[in-house]
């Protein structure tokens, strides 16, 4: 449909004609060359299109003016941003290259697809954690509880099944886990869900619910549900010692 058809027609019945639909981009100068040529050709054929282009230019000018009057953010935003960047840089320096964490950070930063980076980071972190625990066990005098901890990561504590937002970066997820003092203990499942230990001890149902509700409001979290500890395949291990009652 052309502008000529549109004038005087009931507004609700109007469908965009091909050329009319392109006029905003024509006026803004952002059309591809071929489309721009088609609009120019139509303008030559039907001069009444020129009136429509004038209307579009009027809208364009006012839209720019409207945006320009919105002002600018206060200067302290730049300071805040640079302070946050400095804080991150300092934190990264603590994990200097050569250390396991530094190596891992650099490794993941170079992986282009973010989902691959996230998935890979969990896998390697899990391996690194296990390696650390194994080294720890072999280099320190062992107690029965330390040995037990290797096999009990899924059994002791309070857990949630968490699916991370598709856009969440490895750094954001690491920060999220740090903030909640949480650890990934398993996953991902086929649906991309991870098992996350959110406390070393068993939390009351209400308390667990509160933590999970808080997690659901995090931008990196797509979904979070409480999870039961995995049932032990071996005889149950003694529970962690609790404070003696007075």
């Amino acid at each position: 449909m052309t502008l000529n058809d549109a004038v005087g027609a009931p507004a609700q019945n109007i469908e965009p004609g091909e050329i009319e639909a392109l006029l905003p981009w024509y006026a803004a100068g952002t059309l591809r060359r071929r489309e721009r040529q088609r609009v120019e050709e139509a303008l030559r054929r039907d001069p009444s299109f020129a009136r429509h282009v004038d209307l579009v230019r009027e809208e364009l000018a006012e839209a720019i003016l409207l945006n320009e009057t919105l002002g600018a953010p206060p200067p302290h935003i730049a300071d805040r941003l640079m302070a946050a960047i400095d804080a991150e840089t300092d934190a990264a320096r603590k994990h200097a290259p050569g250390t396991a964490v530094g190596w891992l950070t650099g490794f993941f930063a170079n992986l282009p697809p973010r989902t691959l980076a996230v998935a890979a980071s969990f896998a390697v972190l899990a391996i690194a954690l296990q390696a650390f625990m194994i080294v720890d066990i072999f280099t320190k005098p062992q107690s029965s509880s330390q040995v037990a901890s290797l096999g009990s990561a899924h059994r002791h504590g309070s857990f949630a099944m968490v699916r991370f937002a598709q856009a969440a970066s490895a750094a954001e997820i690491t920060s999220f886990l740090h903030n909640y003092q949480a650890a990934l203990v398993d996953g991902p499942t086929e649906g991309g869900v991870y098992r996350v230990r959110i406390a070393m001890k068993t939390l009351a149902k209400e308390e667990l619910g509160k933590v999970i509700a808080r997690m659901r409001h995090e931008s990196v979290v797509a979904s979070a549900e409480p999870a039961e500890p995995v049932a032990a395949a071996e005889p149950a291990e003694p529970a962690e010692p609790t404070a003696p009652s007075k």
């Binding site: 905003p24 059309l31 209307l55 003016l65």
Partner: protein, 188 residues
Amino acid sequence: MAMQAPADEALIGRIARGDRLAMQVLFARHHVRIYRFVLRLLRDEMAAEDVIAEVFLDVWRQASRFEGRSAVSTWLIAIARFKALSLLRKRRDAGLDDETAESIEEPSDDPELALAKLDKGEKLRKCLAGLSREHREVIDLVYYHEKSVEEVAQIVGIPENTVKTRMFYARKKLGELCRMAGIDRGWP
């Protein structure tokens, strides 16, 4: 001889290598437009300030992942839009209906009378501000941010034909609002 400013893509490459100065240049170059884009979506200055700080912090963290498939400004707007809409979703979940907040933003007791006093340009701007979020967004991306059909499609995540149709209906709605405000533009 004037020194040529480094291209945005070159700045992103430097940021990926941890160059703070490049970050400051990129921020200076784009933060006002990004802020205005977010402010038009959120209509909340404090929230818009938070969002732009987060957007550029994300750029710092993810610069190495920028593959140059789109212009840097398009990438920035896409990140900003994602964060702004996430915030709006959270607000909606928390029961803060921002569209309701928008509707009580008008300071005038008698909007009709106030509109009558404005000149044509002011009326048109009032009508632009009165569009729905979806229509405001496409109008701003095309007219103010000078984004092509393809770039709007990338930012909003819709097909190019839908972009054209959405823009058409945004303009049609604008025409209706203008007519109600006493401006007969002869279209639609």
